[in-house]
C-alpha cells in the first residue's frame, strides 16, 4: 500500500520543489473536498452520490513569465512533475513585469464558514430534507403533478494557499443546498418552477420554503398568454434581480477595464447608474456563502463599495491588475478549483436595499411587467452590455396581477439598465449564487411579443 501524504505535507513538498528550481517564486493552491448529493423522485431516493476531489494547482514565476499546472496525482512524483510542468510551460508566455505572488501575511479570523458534524449525517437524514421539499410543494396546489428533479447536497472543503514568500493560509468550509423544479399541470398545459437555497449551516436550509416557492412559480405560469410588443416598466423580484446583477459583475473586472473590454473603463468617479443604486462586494461577512478569508492568490479579502449612489467607486482586482493600476489589491482573484488559475470574480455581490416595501414600490406603477423567469442569461455579452432574453412574466396594473404572459423577450443594455433603475425595495435576499438583490424597478424596457 502506497503512503498517502497529508494536505500540509503536499503543500510543503510543492513549495520546496519550486524553491529547488531556478525560478523567481511560485504559489501552490490545494483543495480537498468531499460532498454528498441525494436525488429523490416520487418519494424515493433515485441516486445517492458521494464525491471526493483532491488536487493542487501550481503557479511558477520566472523572469516575468508565468506557468500554471495542476494535478490530482498527489504522490511525491506527481507533485514534482506538476511543478516542473508549470516551470516548462511558463517559457511560452510573454513576460509581464506586473505578475507577482502574495507576500503579505493573511488576515484570517474565524469567518464562521464551517459547521462540524457534516460527516456524521446519514443518507437517510439527507433524504428527509429532499422529501420534505416535495411534500411542501405538493401541499401548495393540487395541480403540482411532479418534479423534474429534487436534490439535496452538502459538502466540506479545505482550501490552502501558500507562496514561496512564506505566505500561507488555510480554511475549511461547509455548504448545504437544496433545490427543486416543480411541475404544474392543467389540462394539456404544463409549467415548471425552480427554486433553490444554499447555506453554510444545515439548520438554515428551509425545505418547506424551497418547495413552496418552486410550486408557486410553476402554478403562477399556468394560463400564460402571448403579449403584445411594447415598452413597459419592468419589475424584478430579488431572484430575477440576482440573475441580471450577475451579468454586471464582469464590467467591474479590473482585467477587462485594463484591456478595454469593459464599459466601465475610465469611469471611476462618474455617474454610471441612477442615484438609487449602491452596489457592494462583500467577502468578509461571517457565515455568508461566498465569504472567504483570502482569495486564490493568498491575498486577504475585502469589502468594497463599487457603486455609491450611482457613482462608480472601484473595480475588482487581482495582484497583477492592482499593480498595473497602482492600487491596493481587493482580494478578488477567485479560484473555481485547483485545476483553473485565479480569475477576477465577486464575493457576496449585491445591490443594497432601499427604503420602500416591494408592494408599495410596485403599487405606484400604472402598468408594468413583473418578470417570472428568464431564458438565455448565459448569452448576455459583458463586453457590449447588450442583452436580449426569453422571458415569462406577470402583467400588473397598479401592482395587481392581471394575468401571466409567456413567449416574450426583454432587451436592452446593462449600462442603460443601471441608469434606469427608478426604485429599489427593502427586501434584500442573497441567493444560492452568493449574489444579493432586493426587488427593483426598471423604468422601461422593450418587450418583444405578438
Amino acid at each position: 500500500m502506497s503512503e498517502k501524504l497529508t494536505n500540509d505535507a503536499i503543500v510543503d513538498r510543492a513549495i520546496a520543489s519550486i524553491k529547488g528550481l531556478r525560478v523567481d517564486g511560485g504559489e501552490v493552491f490545494l483543495r480537498d473536498g468531499q460532498s454528498t448529493s441525494v436525488e429523490v423522485r416520487d418519494g424515493a431516493v433515485e441516486n445517492a452520490i458521494t464525491r471526493g476531489e483532491r488536487g493542487i494547482g501550481v503557479r511558477v514565476l520566472r523572469g516575468g513569465h508565468v506557468g500554471f499546472a495542476y494535478t490530482s496525482d498527489l504522490s511525491a512524483a506527481g507533485i514534482e512533475e506538476c511543478v516542473t510542468s508549470a516551470r516548462d510551460i511558463a517559457s511560452v508566455t510573454e513576460p509581464d513585469p506586473d505578475v507577482s505572488i502574495a507576500t503579505k501575511k493573511i488576515d484570517s479570523p474565524d469567518l464562521e464558514l464551517y459547521e462540524a458534524g457534516i460527516d456524521d449525517r446519514s443518507v437517510a437524514q439527507r433524504t428527509v430534507v429532499a422529501l420534505a421539499v416535495e411534500l411542501a410543494a405538493k401541499g401548495v396546489d393540487k395541480r403540482i403533478s411532479g418534479f423534474r428533479k429534487t436534490t439535496y447536497s452538502d459538502g466540506s472543503l479545505t482550501t490552502t494557499v501558500a507562496t514561496t514568500a512564506d505566505v500561507r493560509g488555510s480554511y475549511r468550509e461547509t455548504y448545504f443546498s437544496v433545490g427543486t423544479s416543480a411541475v404544474a399541470t392543467d389540462g394539456d398545459e404544463r409549467q415548471i418552477g425552480y427554486h433553490g437555497e444554499a447555506k453554510r449551516q444545515f439548520r438554515l436550509v428551509d425545505p418547506d420554503a424551497v418547495g413552496r416557492v418552486a410550486a408557486l412559480r410553476a402554478v403562477g405560469k399556468l394560463g400564460a398568454k402571448p403579449f403584445k410588443t411594447q415598452k413597459l416598466p419592468i419589475v424584478l423580484d430579488p431572484f430575477m434581480g440576482m440573475s441580471l446583477l450577475g451579468a454586471i459583475i464582469p464590467l467591474f473586472s479590473a482585467d477587462a477595464v485594463i484591456k478595454g473590454k469593459s464599459l466601465f473603463a475610465g469611469k471611476t468617479g462618474t455617474v454610471i447608474a441612477s442615484d438609487q443604486v449602491t452596489i457592494v462586494d462583500d467577502a468578509r461577512t461571517p457565515g455568508a456563502l461566498r465569504t472567504a478569508p483570502f482569495d486564490g492568490e493568498g491575498v486577504t479579502t475585502t469589502t468594497q463599495t463599487l457603486v455609491d449612489g450611482g457613482v462608480l467607486r472601484g473595480y475588482l482586482s487581482s495582484l497583477k491588475t492592482s499593480k498595473k493600476m497602482g492600487q491596493a489589491p481587493t482580494g478578488n482573484a477567485r479560484r473555481g478549483s485547483y485545476a483553473a488559475p485565479s480569475r477576477i470574480g465577486a464575493a457576496n455581490f449585491h445591490l443594497a436595499a432601499g427604503a420602500m416595501g416591494p408592494d408599495e414600490l410596485v403599487h405606484g406603477l400604472d402598468r408594468s411587467l413583473r418578470i417570472t423567469s428568464l431564458l438565455n442569461l448565459h448569452t448576455i455579452d459583458p463586453i457590449s452590455g447588450e442583452f436580449s432574453l426569453g422571458a415569462t412574466g406577470d402583467y400588473l396594473e397598479r401592482g395587481e396581477r392581471l394575468y401571466p404572459v409567456q413567449g416574450i423577450t426583454i432587451a436592452g443594455n446593462l449600462t442603460t439598465l443601471l441608469s434606469s433603475i427608478t426604485g429599489v425595495a427593502n427586501d434584500l435576499v442573497f441567493g444560492s449564487s452568493g449574489i444579493g438583490s432586493p426587488t427593483f424597478v426598471i423604468s422601461e424596457l422593450s418587450i418583444g411579443g405578438a
Binding site: 502506497s2 431516493v45 433515485e46 441516486n47 445517492a48 458521494t50 464525491r51 471526493g52 476531489e53 494547482g57 506557468g67 500554471f68 499546472a69 495542476y70 494535478t71 490530482s72 496525482d73 504522490s75 506527481g78 506538476c82 508549470a86 510551460i89 511560452v92 508566455t93 510573454e94 509581464d96 403533478s145 411532479g146 428533479k149 411541475v183 398545459e189 404544463r190 410588443t229 411594447q230 484591456k259 478595454g260 473590454k261 464599459l263 485545476a339 483553473a340 488559475p341 431564458l375 438565455n376 442569461l377 448565459h378 448569452t379 455579452d381 463586453i383 457590449s384 452590455g385 436580449s388 432574453l389 426569453g390 413567449g407 426583454i410 432587451a411 422593450s446 418587450i447 418583444g448 411579443g449
Partner: protein, 466 residues
C-alpha cells in the same frame, strides 16, 4: 496508470459485495492544455491532468455513485468500498460476469496527436490569428485567442462483462474580437472545434476564424439595434444548428420523457413536426465535436433518426432509460467527467437536408429577418419555450439581404415552431458548442439546412407596437 481488466473485475466484485444488482466502473485520465493570448500577449499557459474513477451500483430504481481521484489500485478499491457501503441491502454478494474486452471502431481519425506538437507551434498559430484579426479593421480594439486541447482516455467496465476503452482527442481554437466605435463596444466570436487531431488547425482555418470574428465585431458595432416583434425569419445554414438543439433536441432526451417532463413525452409514433422535418442525432459523424466511439457507459454511438418526416420515432437514451422506455440503446449516456453520473445527452444533432434552393428561400420573403449566426440558447423542456441568441442577422427587404442588425434573440415553442417551418433547403451547415444540463457540460455539434419560419418572435431593443 491505467485500468487493467483484472483491476476492473476486482473493483466491480468489491462494489457488489454487499448487495446491489449491477455495477459499473468509469475511469478516465484527462490531459488538458489551455493557452490564452490576450492584449497581444500570450498571457495564460495551463497544463494539467485529472485522473479518477466513479463506481455506480444499482438495486431496483435506486442507484449509488461514489467517485474520486485515483492514483493507484488502493484508491480504486476504496471508491468501490464506498459504493458497496452505500447500497448495502444485505442481499449478499452478486455475481459478476467474467470481463472480456472488445474493441469498437473509432469514427474520428487523429492523424496528428496534439500532444506531439511543439507548444511553440500552437503559440505561433495564435499569434497569426491575433495579427489577422487586428489587421482586419481600425475599429478592432482588442483580440483574445484561445487554444484548448483535451485528450481523454476512458475505460468503462460493468458487471455484465463489458470492458471497453476510448480516447477522445478534442481541440478548440477560438477568437474573440472587441470592436469599438465611439462609446459603443461590440464583440464577435468564432471557434473551430472538433474531435480531431492537430491537422484540423491549418493556417487557412486559423486565419478564416480570426477574420470571421473580426468581421462580426466590426459589423455589429456599426449595425442598427434589432427590432422586437413577430417576423418571418430565414435561418441560413451558415448559422448552424442551435435551433434544433434547443427547440427539439433537449425535449427528446429519454430521461425527461420517462418522467413525463417533456412536450414530447408519450408521443412516439405521433406527428410532432411538419413532414419537411427529419431530425437525427449522429455520434459517429467523423471529426465532429460531439463524436466518440462509445458513450460514457460504453455503448457504441449511433446515427439515430429521432423524427422521420414529422413522425416521432425514438428518444436519445442511456442504458437505464432505454430499458425503462423499451427503446433501443442509442449511445447517448454522456458525462462531463468521472465526478458525474451519465445522463441522456445529444452528440451531433441535425435537421436533414430538404429539397428547396436556399437562394429561393431568401428570395421568397418580402420583409423579414435573415439569420446567419446563432450563439447560445436555452429551453424549458416542460413548456417547450426556448430562446436562442442571434450573433449575425440582417433585415430582408424584397427577397434580398439588406442592412445588418444587432442584439437579437429568437423565442418560440418547439413543437409549434417545428410544425410551422414551411421551406427546408438542400444545404447543411454545422456549428459547435458546449451544452449544459444538470450542471454538466458536454461538447456537442449541431447542423441545419436553410429554413423558413413564417412567423416567430424576435427580441431586439426597438419595440414597434403593431
Amino acid at each position: 496508470m491505467t485500468i487493467t481488466e483484472k483491476a476492473a473485475d476486482r473493483a466491480l466484485r468489491t462494489a457488489l459485495s454487499r448487495g446491489g444488482e449491477w455495477a459499473e466502473l468509469f475511469w478516465e485520465r484527462h490531459n488538458v492544455v489551455t493557452l490564452t493570448l490576450d492584449d497581444n500577449k500570450l498571457e495564460d499557459a495551463i497544463t494539467g491532468v485529472d485522473q479518477g474513477a466513479g463506481i455506480r451500483v444499482t438495486a431496483g430504481d435506486r442507484g449509488v455513485y461514489a467517485n474520486g481521484n485515483v492514483n493507484d489500485g488502493d484508491d480504486l478499491l476504496a471508491i468501490a468500498g464506498r459504493a458497496a457501503a452505500a447500497i448495502a441491502d444485505d442481499g449478499g454478494t452478486r455475481e459478476v460476469t467474467a470481463i472480456s474486452a472488445d474493441t469498437l471502431p473509432r469514427p474520428s481519425i487523429v492523424t496528428i496527436d496534439p500532444r506531439t506538437v511543439a507548444i511553440e507551434r500552437k503559440v505561433e498559430l495564435m499569434k497569426l490569428a491575433n495579427r489577422e484579426a487586428r489587421a482586419f479593421d481600425p475599429r478592432v480594439h482588442q483580440v483574445t485567442v484561445l487554444y484548448r486541447e483535451s485528450a481523454q482516455d476512458v475505460v468503462v467496465a460493468n458487471s455484465e462483462g463489458r470492458f471497453r476503452t476510448d480516447t477522445r482527442t478534442r481541440l478548440v481554437f477560438g477568437v474573440l474580437v472587441t470592436a469599438k466605435q465611439g462609446e459603443v463596444l461590440e464583440s464577435g466570436y468564432k471557434a473551430e472545434a472538433g474531435t480531431e487531431g492537430f491537422e484540423m488547425l491549418t493556417e487557412e482555418a486559423v486565419l478564416e476564424t480570426a477574420r470571421t470574428a473580426a468581421r462580426l465585431a466590426v459589423q455589429n458595432v456599426a449595425a442598427e439595434p434589432a427590432p422586437a416583434g413577430t417576423y418571418t425569419v430565414v435561418l441560413s445554414s451558415d448559422a448552424g444548428g442551435t435551433l434544433i438543439h434547443e427547440s427539439v433536441g433537449h425535449g427528446l432526451e429519454a430521461d425527461l420523457n420517462l418522467k413525463g417532463m417533456s412536450v414530447y413525452s408519450g408521443r412516439l409514433g405521433e406527428k410532432v413536426a411538419s413532414e419537411l422535418i427529419t431530425v437525427l442525432d449522429d455520434g459517429t459523424d467523423p471529426g465532429k465535436r460531439g463524436t466518440a466511439a462509445m458513450d460514457d457507459e460504453g455503448t457504441q454511438t449511433h446515427r439515430t433518426v429521432l423524427i422521420d418526416k414529422g413522425i416521432l420515432k425514438t428518444y436519445l437514451s442511456d442504458k437505464k432509460h432505454a430499458k425503462k422506455l423499451g427503446i433501443a440503446e442509442s449511445g447517448n449516456g454522456r458525462r462531463e467527467s468521472f465526478r458525474h453520473l451519465p445522463i441522456c445527452r445529444m452528440t451531433t444533432t441535425m435537421i436533414a437536408r430538404g429539397t428547396s434552393d436556399p437562394a429561393e428561400i431568401l428570395a421568397s420573403v418580402t420583409d423579414g429577418i435573415f439569420v446567419k449566426g446563432m450563439g447560445g440558447g436555452q429551453v424549458d423542456v416542460v413548456s417547450g419555450n426556448f430562446a436562442f441568441e442571434i450573433t449575425e442577422c440582417y433585415r430582408i427587404r424584397d427577397g434580398r439581404q439588406a442592412e445588418p442588425l444587432r442584439g437579437a434573440t429568437l423565442v418560440g415553442q418547439g413543437p409549434k415552431l417545428m410544425s410551422e417551418i414551411d421551406m427546408v433547403g438542400w444545404d447543411l451547415g454545422y456549428s459547435v458548442g458546449t451544452c449544459g444540463k444538470d450542471g454538466q457540460g458536454a461538447p456537442v455539434a449541431d447542423a441545419q439546412p436553410t429554413l423558413r419560419i413564417p412567423s416567430v418572435v424576435v427580441g431586439g431593443k426597438v419595440a414597434q407596437p403593431s
